[in-house]
């Protein structure tokens, strides 16, 4: 099914935004290194592993938005997967927790794919349906796990964090867990025919349909992929904290951060434009802003204002660049 496309030379103009976001991330890291007294493997490990949930969510959100949708239930799915896995994994051996993890990811994909199907059939806008599902997911999470609790195996924690108590200094595992999904998602979106059909659906529904793309199938696949990534994000939070937490606010914040990340990462909310790779860099930036601002001694409440302002400024620059390009044409 998935014909592999020939490898193409990097096109600077088309990938310019992604490159810019990665450069911005590099600058921020450099600045952070200068800001704090000690920068070592502990800090690196901490940044990588703690950014994992948002990175996963951003990948999923990017895929859904590129397909022409938006998932306001992504954060709630994270909480649901977190609560379900913490409940199921408690006191289980490593192998069982891994199996449960795969089960959670598949279940999240199926559930969210079903949401995509509902959007197709009902023709209710994505934003309305996924807002509704966000409440359903949150409610389910509370039914499974009424308060903070549950647990997982030590091996499962090592898999995501590199240590059995989530506080170590080795970051090999975390880096691997960061890179593997990114590479898979990026290849899926850019190199497979199915991935291209998602881009096509978000870019121009009519042209996609006339090109023979099954646009309903594309939507279901996009949402299922997004659900799987949100499920993975939920697993990561269990591994990082060692337990489950069904609080609604965690999910709501995570959803909005994922949308902020993809917008900053160059994904157009109108669909069809942007890349997973750019969204990942932006997700790390969005996560990274709070440690930087706290290292600068800025009050956490002010930090939110700075974070929002930064997104507005970056988007304004993007808008101006796009305008100039159109004028030049």
């Amino acid at each position: 099914m998935t014909a592999v496309v020939r490898r193409r030379a990097l096109n600077l103009r088309r990938h310019g935004w992604s490159i810019g976001v990665w450069l911005l991330l590099a600058v921020l890291i450099g600045w952070y290194v200068l800001l704090i007294p000690r920068f070592g493997s502990f800090q690196i490990a901490s940044i990588i592993k703690n950014s994992l949930p948002l990175v996963y969510l951003a990948i999923g959100q990017a895929v859904i938005v590129i397909t022409g949708g938006i998932d306001l239930g992504a954060g709630a799915m994270l909480v649901l997967a977190n609560s379900a896995s913490a409940t199921l994994m408690q006191d289980q051996p490593f192998l069982v927790t891994i199996l449960i993890g795969f089960g959670i990811i598949l279940g999240a994909a199926a559930l969210n794919g079903f949401v995509g199907w509902i959007i197709n059939v009902s023709r209710v806008p994505d934003i309305v349906v996924t807002l509704a599902t966000s409440f359903i997911y949150s409610g389910l999470a509370l039914m499974i796990l009424p308060g903070p609790g549950g647990g997982t195996s030590a091996g499962f924690r090592i898999l995501f964090t590199g240590s059995d108590d989530g506080t170590g200094t080795s970051f090999g595992f975390s880096l691997g867990m960061l890179l593997v999904p990114v590479v898979i998602a990026a290849f899926f979106m850019r190199r497979s025919r199915t991935g291209l059909s998602l881009y096509a659906t978000g870019s121009d529904l009519n042209a996609a349909y006339l090109s023979g793309v099954d646009i309903r199938r594309a939507k279901v696949i996009g949402y299922a992929f997004g659900g799987a990534m949100a499920g993975l994000a939920g697993l990561a939070t269990v591994a990082i904290t060692g337990s489950g937490d069904p609080r609604f606010s965690i999910g709501a914040n995570a959803t909005l951060n994922s949308v902020a990340a993809i917008v900053l990462g160059g994904v157009a909310l109108t669909g069809g434009i942007g890349s997973v790779v750019g969204a990942v860099a932006a997700a790390i930036i969005v996560f990274f802003l709070s440690p930087i601002l706290s290292a600068m001694g800025i009050d956490p409440n002010t930090a939110q204002v700075v974070q929002g302002s930064l997104i507005v400024v970056v988007m304004m620059i993007a808008g101006l660049l796009a305008l100039r390009r159109r004028r030049a044409k």
């Binding site: 496309v5 870019s203 121009d204 042209a207 349909y209 090109s211 069809g272």
Partner: protein
């Protein structure tokens, strides 16, 4: 006798209460170039959508090589051997050429060799579709369709955006397909192309097949007459209005150019005059109205309002200079859920005085407009509950309440019953009698002598014909609109 390559029988399609196709019979033999003709709204594009699997007909049969086929999705039409090059290229704008080809599982090399034959051998397949000019996209779409090696090639208005040398390539491909014993269904507004290229022509009118002729024998007249149908019997004696040559020029353009769609249009519109524009679809009239209404700025040339150039950044600037637009889509121009009164008063809300509480004449102005419109309903009713004709009157009436010098009407009577049409003619004439200018584009040619004083025919973004409207017969206008009379 061998089976026809494509045969449709009694194909019909309705959208709700609107009948697009009543009964279409079309027979295309192998090895023939077959033209599909019809005036605007005759049902050509609906038939193309059915033959390409975009929509399914309500009734009727389609058979290819004698076998009945059903096509529910575009890939099924391709499988049946029908490949379509659509009027708007079916290429995904945010993907590259190569990615578009991957999407449709087409061999790049086959497309590349086709493009080379068309003189586009150096096209970069990593280029994004949105960066490419329309004519390249048309040819790319054609090359992609050819790569499917179809039995029947459907070309929908393919030559409309092509320069003549590129069009020659397309004609060559059509000949090649014919010599292979395959067929081409060619949809065009250019009768000259039909006369020189096509073996057969099927003519649609009002969603029905009305004639199948051999263009080489029937000639131009044999094509045009069935397209028109019975000439509207009610051609009343056009009330001749005299336009003084001393009347001030309210609106003029000087050598307008815009994006290859408007190619050097100059005209003058005097106070009190109703100037008609006749054109087939896609000849640049949409763009011309965008330029005049301030929605877009010309690449070259000027729009001159009351003697000084209009440099509009948005329609607001044009409105302030007294140039207002009645668009073709009434719903776009109205707030459907608000009352007639509120809709009429929208432009008044813009006035600063209102906010300062200095002028309170909004109610009187609105009342006057309602009186003048004779909208047969109470003014507080929601606009969406009005008939199309009455909605159109509200759109025009809005500007009556606001005041203007020049009224631009884009196809103001589309889909409106004959009685209301007459009222709109009267309204526009009344407007002109008060010294305003009216520019009307209409897709219905019989309207021209009924409504206008003078008419311009636009073809390919240029004015190809000009005459006084009272003597403008439909035949003359249609021939000119098909580009058969290049110099005028």
């Amino acid at each position: 006798m061998t089976d026809a390559l494509l045969e449709t029988k009694a194909v019909a399609k309705s959208y709700g209460s609107v009948v697009a196709l009543r009964s279409v019979d079309l027979t295309v033999q192998p090895g023939e170039i077959h033209a599909l003709l019809g005036a605007n709204g005759a049902g050509k594009s609906t038939l193309v959508k059915i033959l390409s699997g975009v929509i399914a007909p309500d009734s009727g049969t389609i058979s290819v090589n004698g076998r009945s086929v059903t096509m529910r999705r575009p890939p099924e039409a391709l499988k049946a051997g029908l490949a379509t090059v659509y009027q708007d290229p079916a290429l995904v704008p945010d993907l590259t050429i190569a990615q578009n080809l991957t999407l449709t599982a087409i061999d790049e090399d086959a497309v590349r060799s086709r493009l080379t034959a068309m003189g586009l051998g150096r096209l970069d397949f990593d280029a994004q579709i949105r960066d490419l000019p329309l004519e390249v996209l048309r040819l790319l779409d054609l090359a992609r369709a050819l790569a499917h090696d179809p039995q029947l090639l459907l070309l929908d208005e393919i030559t409309a955006a092509l320069p003549s040398d590129q069009a020659e390539h397309v004609f060559g491909i059509m000949q090649e397909w014919k010599e292979k014993g395959r067929s081409v269904l060619f949809i065009t507004h250019r009768l000259a192309e039909v006369l020189s290229l096509c073996d057969q022509a099927t003519i649609l009118r009002d969603g029905r097949t009305v004639a199948q002729v051999e263009p080489r024998q029937s000639g131009e007249r044999g094509l045009v007459t069935p397209m028109l149908g019975e000439v509207a019997a009610e051609l009343e004696a056009a009330t001749s209005r005299v336009i003084s040559q001393e009347a001030p020029i309210n609106l003029a353009t000087a050598d307008l150019y815009s994006g290859g769609k408007v190619n050097g249009i100059s005209f003058e519109l005097r106070a009190g005059e109703i100037l008609g524009i006749a054109a087939l679809e896609g000849q640049g009239q949409d763009r011309l109205f965008e330029l005049l209404s301030g929605d877009r700025r010309p690449d070259r040339g000027e729009v001159i309002v009351n003697g000084s150039p209009l440099r509009a950044r948005s329609p607001y600037d044009a409105i302030r200079r007294g140039v207002v637009l009645v668009p073709s889509d009434r719903v776009l121009a109205l707030l459907p859920k608000r009352s007639v009164r509120e809709n009429l008063a929208i432009p008044l809300y813009n006035r600063v005085q209102r906010w300062l509480g200095l002028v309170g004449d909004e109610d009187t102005r609105t009342n006057k407009a309602i009186e003048r419109l004779s909208i047969d309903t109470r003014a507080h009713r929601q606009v969406r509950r009005l008939s199309g004709g009455n909605q159109q009157k509200v759109v025009i009436g809005r500007w009556l309440a606001n005041g203007f010098r020049t009224l631009l009407c884009f196809d103001p009577t589309r889909g409106i019953d004959i009685h209301t049409k007459r009222q709109i003619y009267d309204l526009l004439k009344e407007v002109a009698d008060t010294g305003a200018s009216v520019l009307v584009y209409t897709s219905e040619l019989p309207e021209i002598p009924l409504l206008c004083d003078r008419v311009l025919v636009i073809y390919n973004g240029r004015i190809v014909h000009e005459q006084d409207a009272a003597n403008a017969t439909e035949e003359v206008l249609l021939s000119a609109a098909h580009g058969l009379e290049e110099s005028a």
